[in-house]
Symmetry: C2
Subunit: 250 residues, 2 copies
DNA sequence: CGAGGCTTTGAACGGTGTCAAAAACTGTGG
DNA sequence: CCACAGTTTTTGACACCGTTCAAAGCCTCG
């Protein structure tokens, strides 16, 4: 995929640039028709906009087409935990349509383009297109798997391992959707965001990143992260490379 | 529900004692027929048996009918993170059937009875019973929500809050399936299990529990936990009571 | 009664958090 | 092109929460 080609207004699903990425499983014509018919429209936002909010039911589900976002929860005294970053191709808002209210919020980091599906028609999808219903469950299972691994990280990895794990995780996901060029990826978030994802303080996150830098494992400057070699990072973080990465795109 | 009534051999789904719990949403006759037809059999295990193993694909999905179990992941040096406890009515193994391999293991804490569904017929379910397909996704979304909250706990709550949160969480889930009597619930696991769930060391977990005890918030002795009052625990843990609790049962 | 597993306690260490301030960077307006 | 304000990164000092190590007590069960 050419990550730089911006989405025009009113992209038709069959021409969706994201589908060109090889991580996304092929869809049949029927499925594509169904998806097209389901699409309610596009949501274009600036950076730092709240797309979904904890405690609020949402009338729409979204697939992020372009840009970055993150899911998070907060404690009432302001402590924030980022539960995951959202990259192009990721599906958000299932919580809202299944459980009623969103259990977390979603905020954009960059200007973003989201493809929206009306919540009311999800049920229709389950009745009329079982393969896509299966895909939704598949995506939920994948998200669960990502959360499990993150939980292992927060609970049992120390700061250095945890940071190494997380950066590698983001790097690989970004690579999947064509956002990595020669080992370089734009990370459009601050160290504070990373700290909130790792469950560490900002200061300690900074020192941890410095350590990874000093060891030559990463270089993170001016919003760009360079990973010279994936292998040593994976070893430090005990990251299981070699997991299958293809997935459905709705 | 009468939690003490043991399951006889070859329980028929319509007579499944679990269904009597009011947390579980009513099913139509059609759905019940479908579930019955899908059921491959029952798995009865002793305590400490591995039901599903990380990295291995599973031919079956299970609903836990009776007993306790837990999901966990490990790092290769032995550090273990318990990602969740499994109580009666919980559905396990979606990862395996969706993603191919299990991303975590599941081990029983007590003798257990599990209702098993062949993985191969999940697809059939999606094609022929969309309401149950929806329920599976619903359960996956709920699990995701539980993991999100746990992530917030590990990342942003301190040891006391985190323990308070988790015990309350378990207490309420146990209550849902009739395992609580007059504020008392059997916790069939050791403090080491709890430590592995909270991401704390065993020693510190013990001291944290002592603190909760000293403050009169809980009493945990000989495998029984007594919660005199839910409210102060919820306040300490910033636990959102008042979330809807009913869910489907497969 | 003995053995093994679990819980409890104390002491010392160290990883991470907090506080405070400087330095570097970004974007804006002149 | 520069000056300035606000944000983000970086650094150092210090406190504290949670870990580790070690050992004692306590249960359970054969």
């Amino acid at each position: 995929m050419q990550a730089d080609i911006p989405f025009g207004y009113g992209v038709q699903c069959p021409q969706c640039p994201l589908r060109a990425c090889e991580v996304f499983q092929a869809v049949s014509d029927d499925e594509l028709d169904f998806i097209s018919a389901l699409k309610a429209g596009e949501l274009r936002t600036g950076p730092a906009s709240t797309v979904l909010q904890e405690g609020v039911p949402s009338d729409h589900l979204f697939t992020l087409l372009e840009g970055w976002a993150f899911r998070y929860k907060t404690l009432d005294d302001g402590r924030r935990q980022i539960t995951s970053f959202v990259l192009p191709g990721d599906f958000i808002g299932i919580q809202g349509s299944m459980l009623g209210d969103m259990d977390h919020s979603v905020e954009t980091l960059t200007p973003a383009v989201l493809c929206s599906f009306p919540r009311k028609r999800v049920w229709e999808l389950y009745q009329n297109c079982s393969s896509l219903a299966f895909d939704i469950t598949w995506l939920a299972a994948r998200q669960e798997s990502i959360l499990n691994e993150h939980l292992l990280s927060l609970g049992r990895r120390n700061a250095v391992e945890c940071a190494a794990y997380y950066i590698l995780h983001l790097y690989l996901r970004a690579d999947d959707v064509g956002l990595v060029t020669e080992g370089r990826v734009r990370f459009p978030f601050t160290q504070e965001h990373l700290a909130d994802a790792l469950g560490l303080s900002l200061v300690h996150t900074n020192k941890t990143l410095k350590k990874l830098s000093a060891d030559g494992l990463i270089q993170w400057e001016h919003g760009w992260c360079f990973v010279p070699d994936v292998a040593p990072l994976a070893e430090l973080a005990r990251f299981d490379l070699g997991q299958p990465r293809t997935r459905p795109l709705l």
